[in-house]
C-alpha cells in the first residue's frame, strides 16, 4: 500500500504524462537590504506566487523596519494572464504603519512593457481615498552576471490617509539604482543607492524627508 502510494505520488508529480502546466510556487526577494540612513532601516520587497501559466495567486510584501517602527504594504491577489505579456490582478492589500492598519481593495496590471521594462501599476481603493502606484524596473546587463537595475516608483492619492502618513496628491517618488552580481541566478548580493522624496502634505504635514541613501542587500529566489 505504501509502495503504491509512493509510486502514485511519483507518477503524479515527476512523470505525469504530457502535463505542460504543472502547479508551481516560487518566492522572489527582489530586495532585502540594509539602508544607510537614520535608524538603519532594513527594507524588503518580496513577491511569491503559486499557480499555473494563466492563473496564479500572488502575495506581495514591501516595507521597512526601522528602530521599533514597521511600515509595510501586503497584498494578496488573484492574477490572470490576459495577454502574452500582461497579467490582470485583483485582491486585497493591508498597509501598516506602526500600530495602524488599513485595508484596500486592489486592481493591478503587471507585465513586461516594450523595451523590457518590468511594470506594475496598482489602483488602491478604500473608504477614505483612492491611490495609484507605479513601479518600473529595468535590468541592464553589464556582463552576464553583473546586472544594473534602475527602478522608479511613484505614488499618488485622492485624499489624505492620516493613519499611514500620506497626503493627497502626488505623494511619493522613489528612485533606486542597484548593482547585483548573480553567483547563480537564485542568489545575487548587491549594492546601490536609493533616492526618496515626499511631496505635498506627505512632506509638509507628515514629515517625509528627501533622502538619498546607500543600500546593500541580497536578491534571491527559490
Amino acid at each position: 500500500m505504501k509502495k503504491l502510494l509512493i509510486s502514485t505520488m511519483l507518477a503524479a508529480s515527476l512523470f505525469a504524462e504530457m502535463n505542460d502546466d504543472p502547479l508551481r510556487a516560487t518566492l522572489l526577494a527582489d530586495r532585502l537590504e540594509w539602508q544607510a540612513t537614520d535608524g538603519d532601516p532594513v527594507a524588503w520587497d518580496v513577491a511569491a506566487y503559486a499557480g499555473y501559466d494563466i492563473d496564479k495567486i500572488y502575495f506581495y510584501s514591501e516595507g521597512a523596519v526601522q528602530s521599533d517602527e514597521t511600515e509595510s504594504e501586503n497584498e494578496l491577489l488573484y492574477s490572470r494572464a490576459v495577454t502574452p505579456f500582461w497579467d490582470l490582478q485583483g485582491g486585497l492589500e493591508m498597509d501598516t504603519a506602526g500600530s495602524e492598519r488599513k485595508v484596500w481593495g486592489v486592481l493591478a496590471i503587471q507585465g513586461l512593457a516594450p523595451y523590457f521594462i518590468d511594470t506594475r501599476i496598482r489602483l488602491k481603493i478604500s473608504d477614505e481615498a483612492v491611490g495609484v502606484n507605479f513601479d518600473f524596473e529595468y535590468e541592464a546587463l553589464l556582463t552576464q552576471r553583473l546586472i544594473l537595475t534602475p527602478r522608479i516608483e511613484m505614488e499618488a492619492y485622492s485624499d489624505d490617509v492620516p493613519a499611514l502618513g500620506i497626503g493627497s496628491g502626488f505623494s511619493l517618488l522613489a528612485m533606486g539604482l542597484r548593482l547585483r552580481y548573480e553567483f547563480v541566478r537564485e542568489f545575487a548580493p548587491y549594492v546601490g543607492v536609493e533616492y526618496l522624496n515626499g511631496f505635498g502634505d506627505t512632506k509638509k504635514v507628515y514629515g517625509m524627508k528627501e533622502d538619498t541613501r546607500f543600500v546593500a542587500g541580497v536578491r534571491f529566489w527559490f
Binding site: 502546466d21 504543472p22 516594450p114 552576464q144
Partner: protein, 580 residues
C-alpha cells in the same frame, strides 16, 4: 578481387565492426566500461537478432563527478544499439522496473499504431513491474533510434540507436568498410522537472549569452547612436532577444557522444584508405548540434534513414531526433568528431583515428551568432538584399516551387487562438531551405542545408497533394508556453487526416526558436523545390520565422502523435492525429 567480392567482403567487415567493434576504449562484449558506480557510460552494447529483452530501470551514473540517477535500458545509458534486418519480424519484450509508467517509441519506424509506443495514443504505457511486447515487421532499413515517450524519461537517458540492415547486402546505394553509430545526447544532473520549472519561472535562466550594455555601446561606436538604437528597436518593442538560441544550455548540460563526455573521448578506429560510415543520431532532449570533422570532407548519403543523392559537405546541423549517415575516407592520423551546440555553450568531441590511444585535438568552439530579422520572420535571410532570393535553389528553377498564392489544392482551415500562447507573428515568413541557420551563416565552410537534400530515388510519380493544412508554431518565450496555432495540446482537438489522401502540411514558425517537428507513423516528403526528388524525413527542422512544407501520404490508419521534438516544448507543441 572483383567488385562483387570486394563488396561482400566490405559488407561483412562492416557488420563485424558493428558487432564487435575495434575501438580500444570499449569492449562491446560486456557492454562497455563500468564507471564503478553502477551504470555503463561507455559505448552502448550492440544487440542483434529478432527477439530482444529490454529492461528499463533506474541506475546511478556519474557523468559530471557527482552521482545522479539515470533511466537506463539493460543498465546502460544510452541503451543498447539494436540491429534489425529489413523484412524480418522483430519481437521486443520491454520490462519496466521503474516505480512509474514507461514506454519505448521506435522513432521513424513505420509500424502498426498500437506498436508505436506513445502512452495515451498508441497504448496505455507500460506499468511498473509489467512487460509489454512489441512485435512488428520491419519495412525499412537505415539509421533510426528509440526513446521513451513517458514524462521526461528521455532526458534522463532512455534512448538508444536502431540500425536496420537492408534486406539484401548491397541494397544500399553506397559502400563502406566500417560502420559506427554516433549518438549525441545531453545529460543534466538536474532533474528534468526542475529544469522545466526553472524555465517557467525564468525562461532565460540557462542563457548566459545575452546582449549586454557593452554590446550596445559597441554598436553605437560602430554605426552611431541612432542606427544602433534603430537596430534594437524591433527586438525591444517585441520584447524578444536576438540571443535566444537555446532554452537549455551547457550551463546544466554535459554533452555526450555514445554516452561519453568530451574528456572520456569516444574513440573509433579505421585503417587508412577505408571508407567509414558514421551514423549520426541526435538523441538529445533539447540540443541542436553542428557537426564537423576538421580536415575531413563528409559525404552525406542518408537523411533520417533514407538514402539521398550524395552531397559533400564540411559541416551539418543535426536537430533533435534527426539522423544523418555520412561516409568519410580518412587518411592516416587522428580526426576530431566535433559536435558543438547551436548556442555554442558547449561541445562534445570524439576521436576517429588510425591508431590506438590518440586523442584528436579539439577545434576551438565558435562564437555564437545572433538571430537576424529573417529569424524574426521579417523577410529574406541574405543580407545582400534578396527578397527574390528567398529560395535560391528554387529560383534556379529546375522545378518551380508551388507558392501559396497559386496553390492548386484547397487549404483546410483549422482553429487558431491568438492569445497568451502567441507572442509573435512572423510578418513575412519565407522558405529558407538554403539557409543553414543561425550560427552557420557565412562561416566559410560548405554547410549542408535542406536545399541540398534530394531523394536518392525519383519521386516524380508521387501523387500531388489533395489538400493542405497550415500549422503555426507558436509560443510565449516570456512565460515559456509552447503551442500549435496558439492552442496547447491540453486544449486541442485532434487533427484529422483522411486515409489514402496525399496531404501537404505547411509550417509557419511564429517563434524565435527552431522546432524539429516529428510526425509518427507516416513519412514527411520535404519540398525542397524539386518535386522529382522530394526528400523523405521523419523529423523536419522548422527554422525561426520561416516557413516549410512537406507532403504526407496518409497510409496508416489509427491514432498518431505529431509534435515538436524539443522535450520541453513537446508538452504544449503537440497534436494527436487521427487517420480516419
Amino acid at each position: 578481387m572483383s567488385k562483387m567480392t570486394r563488396r561482400t567482403f566490405l559488407q561483412s567487415a562492416a557488420v563485424a565492426t558493428l558487432l564487435y567493434g575495434v575501438s580500444p576504449t570499449r569492449s562491446l562484449a560486456d557492454g562497455g566500461e563500468n564507471d564503478g558506480i553502477g551504470a555503463t557510460t561507455g559505448s552502448p552494447s550492440i544487440l542483434k537478432g529478432n527477439t530482444f529483452h529490454l529492461t528499463i530501470d533506474r541506475t546511478v551514473v556519474n557523468i559530471t563527478g557527482k552521482p545522479a540517477i539515470a533511466t537506463t535500458v539493460n543498465g546502460t545509458m544510452p541503451g543498447p544499439t539494436l540491429v534489425w534486418r529489413e523484412g524480418e519480424e522483430v519481437t521486443i519484450h520491454v520490462t519496466n522496473r521503474l516505480p512509474v509508467s514507461t514506454s519505448i517509441h521506435w522513432h521513424g519506424i513505420i509500424l502498426p499504431p498500437e506498436m508505436d509506443g506513445v502512452p495515451d495514443i498508441s497504448f496505455d504505457g507500460i506499468a511498473p513491474g509489467e512487460t509489454f511486447t512489441y512485435c512488428f515487421k520491419v519495412k525499412q532499413h537505415g539509421t533510426y533510434w528509440y526513446h521513451s515517450h513517458s514524462g521526461f524519461q528521455e532526458q534522463t537517458g532512455l534512448h538508444g540507436a536502431l540500425v536496420i540492415l537492408p534486406r539484401n547486402p548491397g541494397d544500399e546505394p553506397f559502400e563502406y568498410d566500417r560502420d559506427y553509430v554516433i549518438a549525441l545526447s545531453d545529460w543534466s544532473d538536474e532533474k528534468p522537472e526542475s529544469i522545466y520549472r526553472k524555465l517557467k519561472i525564468q525562461s532565460d535562466y540557462y542563457n548566459f549569452n545575452q546582449r549586454t550594455v557593452g554590446d550596445f555601446f559597441h554598436e553605437v561606436a560602430e554605426k552611431g547612436f541612432v542606427e544602433a538604437f534603430k537596430a534594437r528597436k524591433m527586438w525591444n518593442e517585441m520584447r524578444m532577444s536576438d540571443r535566444d538560441l537555446s532554452d537549455v544550455t551547457a550551463y546544466t548540460y554535459t554533452f555526450l557522444m555514445n554516452g561519453r563526455t568530451d574528456a572520456q573521448d569516444w574513440h573509433a578506429l579505421f585503417r587508412p584508405g577505408e571508407k567509414v560510415r558514421l551514423r549520426f543520431i541526435n538523441q538529445s532532449a533539447m540540443t541542436i548540434f553542428d557537426v564537423r570533422i576538421p580536415g575531413l570532407k563528409m559525404r552525406v548519403v542518408a537523411a533520417d534513414g533514407n538514402p539521398v543523392q550524395p552531397v559533400d559537405v564540411e559541416e551539418f546541423r543535426i536537430a533533435v531526433a534527426e539522423s544523418y549517415d555520412v561516409i568519410v575516407e580518412p587518411e592516416e592520423g587522428s580526426y576530431c568528431l566535433f559536435a558543438q551546440s547551436i548556442d555554442r555553450s558547449g561541445f562534445v568531441g570524439g576521436t576517429l583515428s588510425s591508431r590506438n590511444g590518440v586523442r584528436a585535438k579539439r577545434p576551438p568552439m565558435e562564437k555564437p551568432q545572433s538571430l537576424t530579422m529573417a529569424d524574426m520572420g521579417m523577410g529574406g535571410w541574405r543580407s545582400t538584399g534578396g527578397m527574390s532570393h528567398e529560395t535560391m535553389k528554387m529560383d534556379h528553377g529546375k522545378m518551380k516551387m508551388d507558392m501559396p498564392h497559386k496553390t492548386p489544392w484547397p487549404v483546410t482551415p483549422l482553429p487558431m487562438r491568438k492569445g497568451v500562447a502567441w507572442t509573435m507573428t512572423a510578418m513575412d515568413p519565407r522558405y529558407r531551405l538554403d539557409d543553414p541557420g543561425v550560427g552557420l551563416r557565412h562561416n566559410g565552410r560548405r554547410v549542408l542545408t535542406y536545399a541540398d537534400l534530394r531523394n536518392y530515388r525519383s519521386t516524380a510519380d508521387d501523387p500531388k497533394p489533395d489538400r493542405e493544412i497550415v500549422l503555426h508554431l507558436t509560443g510565449n518565450m516570456e512565460r515559456y508556453i509552447w503551442a500549435i496555432n496558439g492552442i496547447k495540446y491540453a486544449d486541442a482537438q485532434p487533427l484529422r487526416f483522411h486515409y489514402g489522401e496525399r496531404l501537404r502540411i505547411t509550417f509557419i514558425n511564429d517563434t524565435m526558436m527552431p522546432h524539429p517537428m516529428h510526425l509518427h507513423g507516416m513519412w514527411s516528403d520535404l519540398e525542397t523545390g524539386d518535386d522529382t526528388r522530394l526528400v523523405r524525413k521523419h523529423t523536419v527542422l522548422v527554422q525561426p520565422g520561416a516557413k516549410i512544407s512537406y507532403r504526407v501520404t496518409v497510409d496508416a490508419r489509427g491514432s498518431w502523435a505529431y509534435h515538436c521534438h524539443m522535450l520541453y516544448h513537446m508538452l504544449g507543441m503537440f497534436r494527436k492525429v487521427e487517420v480516419v
